[in-house]
Subunit: 408 residues, 2 copies
């Protein structure tokens, strides 16, 4: 009997989701679990989307077009025009089943098996998964807490480039670090990509989540100058609290690339019709929605940073954007701690779920004492989660020490 | 500047969709286009699904679980129990973004790059696309009109099996031929798979569409006997007129395979939440819906077969199931004819769109004078489409002959 493929065994389990069975078990026991493990916002989806479902008339629910539904594509075009990029046309947009599909399509479109994509770690864990699925190598350049996970010097980046390097990939604002790259950093990458003839890919899913009055620097600022090299990945999920509507976008001015991507898109027929019909109302979302959401996240960021900073031997940088941060813990094995919180620890019958950070590194052995925290819960829940984490950590360290001493 | 990948250029354009721009152009000119090119039924989606959208309450629209939403999984389990397979548990089901994702996941899970999957042509075109994307070879065994596209002898199948063969894939009822395999044929495949230790994969998306009182023979009948080898692919699209809700299913009792597939599923986070919440009502669809749909399709099949059989030099076998058939035409290049119908031919300002059949073969050069027809339109439209096809064909042959004579 033939075995399943070797390559499927290489696909890593998601650090965000692999502990889910333990959370499910805890909930079965009546325990409240605060989910800081996943960027699944509790912010309400704008009314205009919900109402478009409630007013649903279309029947049958038939296939959409492979590039995307015309009304949704028109809405997206208007969104990018309003954002300041009036040159973006419908031909430059491919609608994807979530930002995830946009990652997979991009890797496939720019790399042969064995090719390399240079990126910065800690990194969004699913870049790893898609690289494995597509048979390509992610080559990570390490970024560090003491520089707020900002980019290293040009020479440190360039020394990782070789003949097999096809692209540089950034996530900006960054998941999992919360770093927002400066214009100088973006221009450094633009110059490197120009010099070495590389594709330059930006995942800008968190474009709207930049705090303290700073501005996001989009690769769309440079896409007319490098029309064949720049690819921007985007998503409806975070901006509009639409994670469960699987809608992402891939933006490129490279006609050959878009034609190839459309052929792959045809093989999966279309993205969801209902999701797209709903999301085609994106330009009707009032600007007050984004203002409130922005304010809410900045508050959450402040409360998380303040709360965690007070816990002895816990280290973190103040995130500049997105809604994540990498947190160093005084433990040897953060995954064991995350699992223990779900299986063994309760405070007033509540616990917290975190994502172990080792899965956010491409280099083996990195991030073992770190977790990624998503501050996607309302402030009252976030405060409780911080208290649980603090008390849980003390208890865990005590338990582990006792165990160690007992063994002696 | 680096080029896009070679492998993306190998992905074939969909024969079902590549002529779409010409159809769009015709519609812009006010021409009615009857779509016989794609299996996108005009049957109304059952009320219970539409109502669940109209009663939508959930907010925010958050991520679903990677395996599938619990309520939808429960509904699917009940569906398979009612179908006669009470041993199927939720652990045996993976929800996919359309049947398409199930095909891609399966190929990835059972094959290394360069491995072979044996299948029968004409074949569902997207098997070709996914094989190319996954770097595997589809090895086709030819089936022929004079045997109603039924399977060839065991020896003809076995002689295509070698060390790299990992699986046999069938589509039953078949898209694009409309063939429904007999129990003898299915048991022959079961024996071959047992003898050679191969995975045996059945795409049973059209399970409900079997005519003339015949019964569908599902691989689920054999899955307990070969729990590690059989994989069944399924979809909500055709059965419930839900093509635009991207929901498919993969059924396997192989725990290692399901664990690997779940890890890939985690990397794309989840299938659509709204689609799944809607589809979780599947057991509430009244049996009268299926009865009426079945009757309607059998009528359409009869009318199509009768109508096309009367056109001189047009050849087809009476389809036994699904809602497709392969039709031989007296032309040298069916793709040119299909394109010409969209660009140059109108009957009372109407025309018809067909899918050239060459893309439904894996072997180069096959199917050049054939089209695939999907009989998914109501009978009045179908009759008009047949008349257009008949008159269009006469005109096309006349035009071509005139051109040829002019050239002489």
């Amino acid at each position: 009997m033939k075995n399943i493929s070797q390559r499927i065994s290489l696909v890593p389990a998601s650090p965000i989701r692999k502990l889910v069975p333990f959370a499910v078990e805890a909930k079965k026991q009546g325990v409240t679990v605060y989910h800081l493990n996943i960027g699944d916002p509790d912010i309400k989806t704008p009314d205009v989307f919900i109402k478009s479902l409630q007013n649903w008339k279309r029947n049958p629910i038939s296939y959409g077009q492979s590039q995307g539904d015309p009304e949704f594509l028109e809405g997206l075009k208007n969104y990018y025009h309003k954002l300041g990029y009036p040159f973006i046309q419908i031909a430059h947009i491919q609608v994807t089943s979530g930002g995830s599909e946009a990652i997979g399509l991009t890797f496939f479109a720019v790399c042969e098996p064995g090719d390399e994509v240079l990126t910065f770690e800690p990194l969004y864990t699913n870049y790893n998964s898609y690289a494995t699925i597509q048979g390509i190598s992610l080559v990570p350049v390490l970024t560090k807490p003491d520089t707020g996970f900002h980019l290293p010097k040009k020479i440190e980046i360039e020394e990782k480039i070789n003949k097999r390097t096809k692209a540089i990939l950034i996530c900006n604002p960054n998941n999992p670090t919360g770093t927002v790259y400066t214009r100088d950093e973006i221009e450094m990458l633009v110059k490197i990509a120009q010099k070495h003839g590389l594709f330059l890919i930006a995942d800008e899913v968190y474009r709207d989540f930049v705090y303290d009055g700073n501005k996001h620097v989009s690769l769309l600022d440079y896409i007319e100058k490098m029309p064949n090299q720049i690819i921007v990945l985007d998503s409806m999920s975070k901006r509009y609290s639409l994670c469960g509507a699987r809608l992402g976008m891939l933006i490129s001015l490279n006609a050959d690339l878009m034609a190839g991507i459309l052929r792959i898109a045809q093989s999966r027929l279309s993205a969801g019709l209902i999701d797209q019909a709903m999301a085609s109302h994106l330009m009707e979302v009032p600007s007050s929605f984004f203002k409130e959401v922005h304010k809410e996240y900045q508050n959450r960021r402040d409360i998380l940073f303040e709360g965690l900073s007070k816990i002895p031997r816990v280290t973190l940088e103040k995130p500049e954007g997105a809604f994540y941060c990498i947190v160093g813990l005084p433990v040897l094995n953060a995954e064991d701690f995350c699992k223990w919180l779900l299986t063994d620890y309760r405070l007033h019958n509540e616990t917290v779920m975190l994502a172990p950070a080792s899965g956010f590194y491409s280099s083996l052995g990195k991030g073992k004492n770190e977790v990624r925290i998503a501050y996607v819960l309302k402030i009252s829940s976030l405060k409780k989660a911080i208290t649980i984490l603090k008390n849980g950590l003390i208890k865990y360290l005590h338990t582990k020490n006792t165990r160690l001493q007992t063994r002696k």
